[in-house]
Symmetry: C4
């Protein structure tokens, strides 16, 4: 056996560990990664609480460096063991993986305290890491499929809600006016959406009788049309329930794309022949 | 060929551009109009923000004049190229088209600053222009049909919500009284609808124990009966899903009404024989 | 023909006018009654607004007397033209009809100003008059039937919501305590229902971190279980949609009960043979 | 007959009274227990209201002792009449039954006033007693079954809501910042869930224009995705409606587990052959 064969063998094994979920090593890797992601997010959250940051600033800093290095190693390994690295790097998760490691490195080069707020914004990107969790739990699920199918209808519905809000928001601005808290048409539209979606903060409320009557109408409209997206999704759920084939949770050796349907023989992304898809 | 024939030909072409959506020219016209509408609405919105208006007053003024002139030309062209102009003028969109051009002209003749608030109210009508957008996206959709079919049931439901609000609002007024913010029965009804629709502004809240118990009951009623409109629309969606024939997006040459169903041979509004309905 | 026959004839005609909805006279009576009810409710509502009451006190007073007398005449006529008056008097609408006339008469005998608040409470009962409107629009509708069928399930659901609120409300009371606005367990339960039903007044809000975490959980529970009543009613709607026979809107000559199903040959309340049920 | 036979007979009868619901004695026991539970909870609730506790402290104290003793007797009897007491003791209701009696006894041994807050926490456990009520009304119902079946989907949905809240909450923290009430990322996430679930307390509200635009997007997302759990549960209800066999409400003589399906011949928990399951 020549060295290229050994390397290929080694890469194939690494691929199994990183992308696979069936072998014990693969499962261990996934769980470790998951814990690291959750841990890194908790650090970001707690760091923003001033009283915590004052006390444990050094601990947070060291934790972030460890996580950043771990994520960097993981990112490099992912590139190495995939046959077509370019496809991975420019895929959605590839970009997320890269962006979730960068912030801390940038904070190393730019020491100016004026840029601290920018750092915070960059650090935020690491929160997107949690999206990886969806990969484990979510994608192999017909929930997202039902949402995708009713996407266009939900878009039209949201668009309709938006138009109604513009019209009613403008009318409310003319009725109530800046003296009752409706300072501008955009703010009135904001209030209108707050009311229509039944959120109702209460920071702005109608004071005039006509304003309250219109508010009542807006509320009843909002209460009534909440039925529309529900009806759409319900109908979609009922129809998708029958069609769904069995699901699997493996991954393509070639491009790293997830294999969702158990009856697949070829990767739906790169066309690679799949070996052991149960 | 005589001139009447040439005119007829020219009108037929103009009709295709303005009302049609299949030809490149027709699509270009539609998109231009769409951009103009959205732009005009953004101007109205930003003009109401005092800080913007102070800075860019002249820019807003000129923009409004340009849009008003464009809309006027469009309105005249629409009248010219339809066979029965009267039907278009008194149709819903005809009235909207006219009203969305008028406000700026009126502001030209009436210069008295005391009438400024009236101007604002007139300018508002231009917001209705956005309703045209629905024509492109919305009407060729069975979403609105499902809503129309369940209209009578939703009306009864809203009527029921209203009666419950009157009764419970009156009881709340007697329990809480003006000293706890429930100043009159109409205002108590307003509060009751705010609570029943789960909006909950919090500007008026029950203070007495009995009032809080009744509020609890109102909330649970509201939480429970939200299921009713949803149930109605869901059932309607499930049943309309099967019946729907193929949809088209053309328009009648005679009266300008939209042709929705692709199997139509005659305009459902004026009975005109349709030519190229695919 | 003897006089008893004439009287019977006269009563039968009166019955047709008051309870029937098919003859022109019957329709006129119904519409007149409807207007009277709506008018009387508007008077009650406006009377509670202090500024209106100061200005139009005499007008309101006279209006109330006229309506009271009209309702009294109507009540007496209803008793006369029904074969079994006792059944009508002790039926739900019979009691409502009586109670909606009483308050003004009582205000005549008791002139002591200390009892004014009691008067207000009695006057409120007239609001129940509007329930009569439901008779015209609502009962001949399978909406109420679907609600009635899912009554037991909705009751269990509300019961469950109540238990969850008691448990979570008690926990919130222990976490936040009186110093953060959660003054007692009943008030914490009140807050919990406000949150669970997604109303969210904001008069009481958690201040501690643990309290906010629990509040988050309560909100997500509330957001999740709103699906339950919807699911129940939707399923009920889907199943009742097929079964519904034709509906009618007549009334039993004997006891005054409404006849709902057009295939009925006997009154479902008193067993009286129905004559002209189309 | 020997004494062991008499004892067995006596135990069998006691079992019928405590666990059975078919005999008059069994029904009487259940109703008595139900009243005792509701009474004990009302006492806990009212005790927390300071004005009540000041007046009726002794009455509350005596009431609690009586209830505690009754619950203790009931607990002992339950252990005696079940064939396998261990299974009952470590079952969910066994633990609840024990915990609902303990607090008052502990308050007897620990008299230190510093521990009063701990007592309150222990007393709270008695509230769980009400869970027993669910046993009577709830378990024999396909409502809970539908919820259980859609458990995994609802979990994914809540998980998704949580991730969206973390991402949007972090963005809101960066936009609004501590100066506008968004003091830390955890608190921003809390606000985000308050908004997403359409609760909308209004204690924290966005002040900047960009913040209000993002808030609008969050509200519309929340308003849109409320359809998802509803769709899930509706579909589940529709499918469970057909499958459900007849239900019963008896109980296993051996381990005390509830028998739910009327076609069961053996206890699904311990495999005991059932005698009189109608």
């Amino acid at each position: 056996m020549d060295s290229s064969n050994i390397l290929s063998n080694w890469r194939s094994k690494l691929h199994e560990v990183i992308y696979g979920t069936h072998t014990p090593a693969g499962k261990l890797f996934d769980i470790t990664l998951l814990i690291a992601i959750v841990y890194s997010i908790i650090i970001v959250l707690l760091e923003s609480v001033r009283s915590f940051d004052d006390k444990y600033h050094d601990f947070f800093n060291i934790s972030e460096w460890i996580i950043t290095i771990l994520f960097t190693i993981e990112y490099i390994l992912r590139i190495i063991c995939v046959s077509k690295p370019k496809k991975y790097i420019f895929s959605f998760y590839g970009v997320v993986d890269l962006l979730s490691t960068l912030p801390k490195y940038i904070s190393f080069f730019i020491l100016d305290t004026h840029f601290l707020s920018v750092f915070r914004a960059l650090r935020l990107l690491r929160v997107f890491r949690i999206l990886k969790l969806i990969r484990f739990v979510g994608e192999s699920n017909n929930l997202i499929r039902a949402l995708k199918n009713s996407r266009s209808k939900i878009f039209i519905f949201i668009f309709f809600v938006f138009i109604v809000s513009i019209i009613l928001g403008t009318i409310m601005y003319l009725i109530e006016g800046p003296e009752n808290g409706f300072k501008s048409i955009p703010q009135s539209i904001y209030w209108c959406i707050v009311t229509l979606t039944t959120v109702g903060f209460g920071d702005i409320t109608p004071q005039t009788t006509i304003g309250q009557i219109l508010a009542t109408i807006i509320m009843i409209i909002g209460y009534g049309i909440i039925a529309v997206p529900t009806g759409i999704v319900s109908a979609e759920f009922a129809s998708t329930k029958e069609k769904t084939p069995n699901l699997t949770n493996s991954s393509c050796e070639n491009c790293g794309a997830d294999i969702i349907l158990s009856d697949a023989s070829y990767c739906r992304k790169c066309g690679n022949k799949l070996k052991n898809n149960a």
